[in-house]
Symmetry: D2
Subunit: 340 residues, 4 copies
């Protein structure tokens, strides 16, 4: 019997749709309300025939007392229909929240201002938010009322980096060459995201330290004791809908061989259901992670360091799947529930 | 030595870009001016590094007396920046025009009004315009000052249908199942045309007689003596940038065998450089036509009729390539010049 | 608690992998054994990291008494490693079987011989096999020991055709233009199925009545009283991995309007969880069915008939999903279990 | 009038087909003979309808005295139907050769043995072969009888690296993250290259110094005075047919700003028609190079170095286009002839 009631805020975007799909499979929670801005007034099954018949409501018109937890799948920002104020309003109603935007990830107002270019308007809430990287933050997530679900690039990169940081192995040079599926660009009408622009294309859209996710990764690395940050992060879009591959070229403090690198990672993630370290000689590829909540890692020694390949599905482990994983922790379900 | 001067109006859309690419390869004409609305002020090589360095001009600021022929690659319609008035202004300057929009294809104001939903404002010009299907209209095109370049679907369908009409073989049932690459939807920002919406998708967007190209095909069939028109035309987009395949399920007045159908078509197109009739047993596929100016046809007898598969590249034979073919006729070049 | 034990025979092909994925999500059955030919000796999670750790066994080495039901995901044919003999061996052991190949669909040895070109070697079993189109055959499937899971094209086409046949509405002309994702071609190394051959391509590979699935569709239509069969079936591959769209151009005995067609289909499928009839004016598209067990239908009146668009995921409703649906009926689970 | 006679050896592979396409557009040479192994006996236009009608001949049966230059588009290796012996046989007939395989690129038998794992059987010829990177080797190519056409990865990487080497700016750390379209894998039937395996996928297939092209790049860098070689080269395939993007993360001897890096490259390539250095702030992407003979470069300062993005079409500048460029030099045509 399902005894949790969940609302999804932001029904028509790609992460919102993925949350709804995963909640349908969950044995413990029901999709009680669905909220949309542009889609309010429609039925949910008009967005996708496999979705249940439910009215899409405008934001305020929800009896929040009946909701145990809300997943906010909105763009970041302080405006109406964006995440910052919506999350605050939900928390004011006593609803537990998992926010899939970037608004509550950076933990201090100054850091938020630096990377997002405007002030945060809910500083207390920002400080209370727990960073939802379950493999490294499980205890806190279990007790949280507000979880900031990690970004897709940070998820793939931090799961590759933190084992090294914890063992003091990472030296001061992190080069990340990252490829993302197009769903990472969101469901908004821009010429650059048209099929005809991206079919048969690979397009870099940043270099150095320009992408907001650099700030997010640096912050978490700092909390684990690595303070020099990323050297270069190159985000790129590739012609596929969902999936992500990050190649991390790392200088390390020790020059280990393949077997030794394997041991560091296998020991770290031995009991993690959603992190798979591939055998020596295999390569992480996007296909091995798509439509799963896995992070698939492979390790390749290079002179003075190691190359780590990290593959996830940006919509699952990089967004909705990780959110359900966090929900399971917050509501007391088995962590894998609904995620097979 | 190049002795023709050509202008391309509408530089940033897919057909405009394709015209520029083909003119670069042409031995007889130079790309003298490039005109754009949104892109005016930019250099042409900012749109595509392989393009020559040329300023993109706003529409009226061109010394038209130096231009022999203009290719208008604009959306249809009567507004500024659309084709109807632009073509008229160019003709008023004495410039020969090949219009790649639908504005001058339907020949009578009433037919235009029926299919486009608004009145035509240049009726005389509309009546003077010559339909640019070179294989069937070569003599008129050679003498034309204004050519209406056929639509992509009509090109693929008429080259398949007219041999039957000319021989009185076509009976009153024409079902066309048509698949187009996404460039046919143009370079405008719509959610439905996003990579993430169309990757891994096939999407019908019409049925019956709703598409404007039904009017265009019917009109031409009527001129060759077949008056009952299309029964059902199903346009669909498929996940590829360029290319088109139309399957025409036809009832015929005679029940011929495969060899007899071959003879009808091989005889019709024996001397046509841009129409290839495949041997019996082979199937026209999109790949065989892409990046060429070919229409590739295959014939398959069915009970009481024939199935014809017709493949073209919608940007080449269905737009820019056919326009260059028409330009070659209008300016006296070899019909194949620039099209290999 | 899971109380059914299932074996999947043929672990490395696309339908076998899909069966395994769906069984992982099922609350009532466990994946007890996995059998492979080429992959025997490997661990299942080497094929896909998200799969459980299980040894892949060679065919005979399975304690069949511990298995309630086997899903055979093999190529059709009488040779070792193909379906015909494997199914018979499993039945001889008393194991219930759902066969995903074509070997047990055609019900009589003569029909099988006609379409598959060789004799059937297990005629009794062939006659006992129940055709697994659940929406039309549910009672028989519940009591079956051997279910022949329908082909992908027949699933999409029969769900569109049978409501008309049952009401005596179908006249003697059935034209089907069908587009399939590349997984339908199987996981075998052929040049025509290479990425570089099929990216940016649409390729027909049959016309008329040449495809085996014509025999399968005709047979079922005949059982429901329509004996004149398909006029023309055009199978085509499109550049996507999974998904299928069949456009059925049908002559009918009555000329109904859109509302009337809707009523015929809505009434037929009112209580079916896996068939969705879209509202008037919408078009079935592949995206709406992919990664679901749905058949999505849309209806479009044409002169003297109706065009039906039918979209399924060829790997789910067209193969593994329908197999799980049948398994649920055979083992007494809720028909939707594991299929959300 | 065309006065050069060219033969293409290896007609059915992707590079052979591309050579034929480009020769069709060339004003100075004719496609005199086409040679194939598997395709011998077929007509060339059966491979692609746009190709001219020419018989495909088996290898030895060509009157070589009528051929000025042959383009060998074969796999590398010493066996019949591979490049090593074929090139030697052609040179023995006095035919000028451009070899598109790797067999004549590595210049010394020892280096060849190291990277290809078997002995070279034509050492004299190997030493005579001129490396066909026209922008850096034009004078030698003009006088060559045998040109080893560079590999696709080396072309993209060397055009990015050599300006730094020439100015003594490159320090000892070269990390290259490279993405290639699937045509780079050739037209051979392997499961990993199936559409269904690579659609929606990005797949690394090497790390460190394992790829043969590392040897080729190192060799050329050494000839220009940089002897420490590549640190890590990561080849990956992406889901597109043609195109390549290499991101080179480089440590440099000076820490220049963006403007200074621009000047180094703009000065080097100021007069090169086929190398485009993008303005500061733009990113090289695959789309900007596809179906052109361009190498498109963009420069991005990073701490202690520079990131260079280098985009080419692997079939054009990375194979057939560069071969035609070399042919133009060898036969005295304008270097750009046939390449617009």
């Amino acid at each position: 019997m399902k005894n949790g009631n969940v609302a999804v805020i932001g029904a028509s975007g790609y992460t919102g749709q993925e949350c709804i799909k995963l909640i349908q499979r969950h044995r413990g929670v029901s999709l009680r309300y669905v909220v949309g801005n542009q889609s309010a007034g429609q039925n949910l099954n008009a967005i996708r025939p496999a979705f249940p018949s439910l009215p899409i409501l405008p934001f305020p018109e929800v009896p929040w007392s009946q909701v145990d937890l809300a997943l906010t799948c909105l763009p970041h920002g302080p405006a109406e229909g964006e995440s910052m104020q919506t999350v605050a309003a939900l928390r004011a109603q006593g609803v537990k929240v998992i926010d899939l935007s970037g608004d509550y990830r950076l933990q201090t107002p100054a850091t938020y201002q630096t990377w997002y270019g405007h002030a945060h308007q809910h500083e207390t809430l920002l400080k209370q938010a727990v960073y939802g990287l379950a493999e490294w933050n499980r205890t806190q997530i279990r007790q949280a009322d507000l979880v900031a679900n990690p970004g897709c690039y940070p998820t793939a990169c931090l799961l590759a980096l933190l084992p090294l940081v914890r063992h003091g192995l990472l030296a001061e040079s992190i080069i990340i060459d990252a490829k993302s599926g197009m769903s990472g660009a969101g469901r908004s009408a821009k010429i650059g995201n048209l099929f005809s622009e991206m079919a048969d294309n690979v397009r870099p859209y940043g270099a150095g330290r320009s992408h907001r996710h650099v700030g997010e990764i640096d912050l978490v690395l700092g909390q684990y004791g690595f303070s020099s940050g990323i050297t270069c992060f190159t985000p790129q879009v590739v012609p596929l809908h969902r999936g992500m591959l990050c190649n991390l070229y790392l200088k390390t403090r020790k020059d280990l061989n393949a077997q030794a690198w394997q041991e560091v990672f296998q020991e770290t993630y031995a009991n993690e259901p959603f992190v798979k370290v591939l055998p020596i000689g295999q390569f992480a590829e996007i296909k091995s992670a798509v439509e799963t909540n896995l992070c698939v890692l492979s390790l390749h020694p290079i002179p003075d360091g190691v190359l780590i390949m990290s593959a996830i599905d940006n919509l699952t482990k990089g967004a909705a799947g990780q959110a359900i994983q966090n929900m399971n922790l917050m509501l007391g379900f088995d962590e894998q529930e609904g995620l097979l």
